[in-house]
Amino acid sequence: MFQSLSDRLTKVVGKLTGRGRITEDNVRTTVRQIRMALLEADVALPVAKALVDRVLERALGEEVAASLNPGQVFVKIVNDELVTVLGGTVSPLAARGRPGVVLLVGLQGAGKTTTAAKIAELLGKRDRDRVCLVSTDIYRPAAREQLATLAEQLSVRCLVPDSDDPVAIATEALATARHEGFRWLIVDTAGRLHVDAELMAEVASIYSAVDPDETLFVVDAMAGQDAVNSARVFHDRLALTGAVLTKADGDARGGVALSVREVTGVPIRLLGTGERLDALEPFVPERMASRILGMGDVVGLVETVERAVDRDQAERMAAKVKRGRALSLEDFRTQLEQIQSMGGLAGLVDKLPGVPAGALAQANVDERQIRHQIALIDSMTPGERRNPSVIDGSRKRRIAAGAGSSVQAVNRLLKQHKTLAKTMKRAARAGGLERLLAGGIGGAPGRRGRMGR
């Protein structure tokens, strides 16, 4: 999942590498990749389509055409668009009167009961006696015991009206809360499907009975395409004031946050990040945007790569090969060092899950190997570095021994160098040399970062 999304985004950046500007033509294909990436993050299809259309419109605008860094700008537009949709200031839970009523609704197993307790913890931080809880879930076995147990863990009062009618329970709980002067009443409800007419009518009655200040749609961060449908129906019936995204402590991309926001217009207010009752966090749109795109800090990475790769060096090398001279092992060593100076490939991958692990394996490089290869090159004479063809069997043994390595390793290095030299020559003729250099050793042109201008 992770990987294919990253792959796509790498392609997105890669495809725009080395081209002058964003044109309708080169963007169309990348736009599809972005759409796929959003879908893999579980953003609902109609929402993804609409978003990509807006991105495309902006990308084709002047703002970008004038830019020198199309890849970077493009990624940033997508990111900005996500932040815009998700964004706005997130207001704290607010009450009009006393008690303020918070109603939690959603599908089965989304995390309503747990979240009810977490919100009690949040609102009762200064004073436990200000908040009380009530469960209207008469269906799920032991649902009311569950909330009562959680309330006890928090030392918060759980009201238990003596009734088996959810609406009556809610009504009575509100009367008690008002009478006893509670600041907040948090109402948990049974999980229900949006297509269950009877239960939707029931929750609408509970809503009318308690007239909530906050009606929160509790939704699983792992939710799929259908979440837009349930969110829409719940919103139509209840006028939601916000959503809570639960189970965000896992590795789900959480595209549902975007979908829910798009179809209901209500903000995501809180993030559930664990089973413990203090695992409730404010929602941060920027963080969520990066998470949905699964690209860590792409913009930051692009900058890192640009800083690390010495462009003068690259251009000198390019010029040299263009003049028809072969790439020396000295040049090869420089390339290896550049990769190292970026904090190694591992560090790079960390920053951007956008460098596909597969590509690295293909290029056959890891950090240890790079250090190893540099050691081998250092163990050669300057003449050997300039002209590797003189390296025969006995020289190989000497080089290997000098680097504490094997003849096979020397062979591998020479072969890799030869392949690269050949590819570069071909690329020089085809005019794509800069891109190749940006890709570093082992091919995969343009994959490692944006180098075009």
């Binding site: 089965q108 499907l193 297509v195 799929g224 189970k247 896992g250």
Partner: protein
Amino acid sequence: MAGTSLIGRLRASLAKGRDLLTGDIFRTGGSWDAAALDELESRLLLADVGVDATEWLIERLKRSRTDERSASAQLVDLVTELLETVEQPIDVRADAKPFVVLVVGVNGTGKTTTIGKLAARWSAAGHSLLLAAGDTYRAAAIEQLSAWGDRTGSIVAAQSSGADPAAVVFDALSTAARRGTDIVIADTAGRLHTADNLMDELKKIKRVIGRFDAAAPHETLLVIDASQGQNALAQAAEFDRALGVTGLVITKLDGTAKGGILLAIARQQRIPVRFVAVGESADDLLSFEARAFAQALVGAEPA
């Protein structure tokens, strides 16, 4: 269960949410109508099939030979073909005594409810059952399982909240052996597959079961929630890597979510799918049928 087929019930729930395909999409002039393919692609994506499996299916459909049937009918065949590789009912072996089922999954997918349904199904088939309350973490999880024990006439082996789940399960197995119980189903606390310590806890439970009977657990059942999207693929991969999952249950198919991620899982993990769950009552558990699932998913009329 009697009288209601899987396809009937899936279609009934499907009809609540979305229109069935009415228009027929034919092949014109030797190639598929692009609009038709787009429509099918959207339908697969909306069913949570995911980009990879969708692209794969559409590619295969494009390459398929012309015949008289609509694209959607042929797509149903393709999906059926894929799912038939994982259509494999659970075999409750009589020689395994007790037959041990370990139920796992991320939080809130429906593990405990599914255990209740399995208990109902298997006790109706004449087996004696014992349910092990291996979720000692979540509030009132033991009470929830006990309620299902009462409903289905199964014994529940439980310790106090906070007890070591492996110890609970081991004691349950001893009790079952002493009483000559046919089937033991062990509930476990929901956990995200990314929580290493909790995954280790599951491995320990499995090891302890294996110490009791080297062939056990005879079934390690992963419960997947149909309303979830692409993350279910990671769940299947990680739970399988940690425990060796032998069967899947996909729950909450009574909503409008289609559980299309099953196709991606079938392609990548090839774990047998045992049951689909279509509601919260004891009899809302159906044996998995590839074709019925495919039809409900693609949204086509049954052939």
